[in-house]
């Protein structure tokens, strides 16, 4: 386990000696800040409008729900940004080692492929965790000026973590297959986008094929969670993606040692 941590910690730190860590973090915060701000302003304006209308008609203003108007769209936007940023996080993980030759050190050390895979995955996951921490001020603002429900916020974060972990696992897999970072980045982006939009196939191919494809959609399983509904089916879907991605990465690393 300590070996896994050593690999993860070295990789995590290397994000912050290259521009990647800072660029990804800064852009993520810029985008999330903008999304939060715009939906919050929209929410405030509408509330004022309803209040004025209610005042003129001397009735009660309709209740506006911050969860529904601000927080749920915010989580949804976060999930989309995650899709775009994960390839940037994962593209270097194993590519870089292959390109610079340090993979030779890693693979000739008494380290198992599982430890390498987990270490790399955890490093990317750690960076995503730091990114998510950057969204907490938005939640603090919501709680200071309003009374949102805590439940959907917690399930929303859980959903984001699961989505990100699944995407990171797949990105790590792609990174293990090539030594070119651009190829790794774009290929993982394409793969993730396909998994994101695969539910469109439901309308095109009705019947069992369509529903299977729809089930594979990464974003479908997030919808309930962003509303505060925690369904074990969704959790299991993400966990199985994570396990599949990491297992395939492990096998890809191992395959270098297989007799040809």
């Amino acid at each position: 386990m300590s070996t896994t941590w050593a690999i993860a910690w070295r990789e995590f730190r290397s994000y912050f000696v290259s521009p990647i860590g800072y660029v990804v973090l800064a852009l993520f915060l810029l985008l999330t800040g903008y999304f939060y701000y715009s939906s919050l302003i929209e929410f405030v304006n509408r509330s004022l409008l309803f209040d004025q209308q209610a005042g003129m008609m001397s009735g009660d203003a309709p209740k506006m729900n911050i969860n529904e108007w601000v927080i749920r769209p915010f989580f949804f936007n976060l999930s989309v940004i995650t899709l775009f940023l994960v390839p940037m996080i994962t593209m270097r993980l194993l590519c870089e080692e292959k390109k610079t030759g340090t993979i030779e050190l890693l693979m000739t050390s008494p380290v198992t492929e599982l430890q390498v895979t987990l270490g790399k995955f955890l490093a990317g996951f750690g960076l995503y965790g730091v990114m998510l921490l950057g969204t907490l001020p938005a939640m603090v603002i919501s709680f200071v000026y309003s009374r949102p429900d805590l439940g959907p916020i917690l399930t929303g974060y859980l959903g984001l973590i699961l989505i990100a972990a699944a995407c990171l696992a797949l990105g790590t897999l792609v990174s293990s297959l090539t030594e070119n970072q651009i190829v790794a980045g774009f290929a993982s982006f394409a793969l993730l986008l396909l998994l994101w939009l695969v539910h469109w196939a439901e309308d095109l191919t009705p019947g069992p094929t369509g529903s299977v494809l729809s089930y594979l959609s990464v974003v479908r399983h997030f919808e309930d969670m962003s509303k505060g509904v925690l369904d074990t089916r969704d959790v299991i879907f993400y966990l199985s993606l994570i396990v599949c991605g990491l297992f395939a990465t492990m096998r890809a690393l191992e395959s270098g040692r297989w007799r040809s």
Binding site: S2, G256, S260
Partner: protein, 316 residues
């Protein structure tokens, strides 16, 4: 300690190494000598479990490199041709990372790290980031990395490449000092290195072993005869014929001529003493004897003869 039998590695249709067999005893320094592309790196990568062989077996410390890869990897220190460094890390940080990878017990990490820093002459640069180090220092960090967990078997792929002459001598001394307690396999294309450092040498060419012996007997075997170089003033064809008829002389050839001074290379029968009779004959015929020097065939000549002979298809 290392047993390689009928090892073959093919990349598609091209054979990198074919039917390679050799052994290295405990405590021995074994040198791989060969031109670029001879299969030195491929062989080392197989020994370290980085690449699988296509067929044949390799055992390190009694463990098969394919079946017991992890056990082999625990017992080897490997310096690849491209030193595996992370440019953004400090030497200290890098060594502590490698210590974790090599499963060095936490309590011993600091002590071992200090030891290898001293051994490899890295004092004073522990806190420097690798990117800022010169090629020579990087090479030494690579060596330090290989020695860190004090493995029984050390595998060095061109350990002195990129070093300046003084550093080369230091690294060779370091390798010699490790011999005896460690089994070392190193590759090189620098011939004096083999003569100075290795107990035994395996000459590879095109993925095959074309000679395996001690450096001394290798050059002796090919030298076979003693050779003498003469510089003679005023020698004509008749004089050369006379020298050729000196007992013990097997052959004679003129290799150069300048200002009336002829450079002659004389090859004698094995173990025949020809220097004195030659000098006497030259003086008797009234030739100006400017120089008389024995010259042995260096390992370099042996190497060239072996590897080029192979390419001509004649073998050696």
């Amino acid at each position: 300690m290392i047993e390689v039998t009928h090892l073959t590695k093919a990349y598609g249709p091209t054979t990198a190494i074919g039917d390679l067999s050799f052994t290295a005893q405990r405590g021995e320094v074994l040198g791989f000598l060969g031109p670029n592309g001879a299969g030195k790196t491929t062989t080392m990568r197989i020994l370290t479990g980085f690449l699988p062989p296509t067929s044949g077996t390799a055992r390190v410390a009694g463990f098969d490199v394919v079946e017991d890869s992890l056990a082999v990897r625990r017992r080897i220190g490997y310096l690849p041709e491209n030193v595996p460094l992370y440019p953004e890390m400090t030497v200290e940080g890098y060594l502590s990372y490698v210590a974790a990878l090599k499963r060095l017990p936490r309590a011993r990490r600091r002590q071992r790290s200090e030891e290898v820093v001293k051994q490899c002459g890295l004092e004073g640069v522990e806190r420097t980031i690798v990117k800022k180090l010169s090629k020579g220092f990087r090479q030494r960090v690579g060596l330090a990395q290989a020695l860190l967990h004090d493995p029984e078997v050390l595998i060095f792929d061109e350990p002195t490449v990129g070093l300046d002459p003084r550093q080369i001598i230091e690294v060779r001394q370091l390798i010699r000092s490790l011999a005896g307690t460690h089994t070392i396999v190193l590759s090189t294309h620098i011939l004096p290195e083999v003569e100075q450092v290795c107990d035994r040498v395996v000459i590879l060419s095109r993925g095959r072993v074309i000679a395996e012996d001690t450096p001394e007997s290798l050059s002796q075997r090919l030298r076979g005869a003693t050779s003498i170089r003469l510089r003679l003033r005023g020698a004509n064809e008749a004089d050369l014929e006379a020298l050729r008829s000196v007992p013990g002389v097997r052959g004679l050839r003129v290799s150069g001529q300048r200002d009336g001074v002829v450079l002659v290379e004389v090859e004698g029968e094995p173990s025949a003493e020809i220097a004195e009779p030659l000098a006497r004959a030259a003086v008797e015929r009234g030739l100006g004897l400017r120089e008389l020097a024995p010259y042995g065939m260096s390992l370099e000549d042996v190497f060239l003869q072996l590897t080029t002979g192979e390419e001509d298809g004649r073998g050696a």
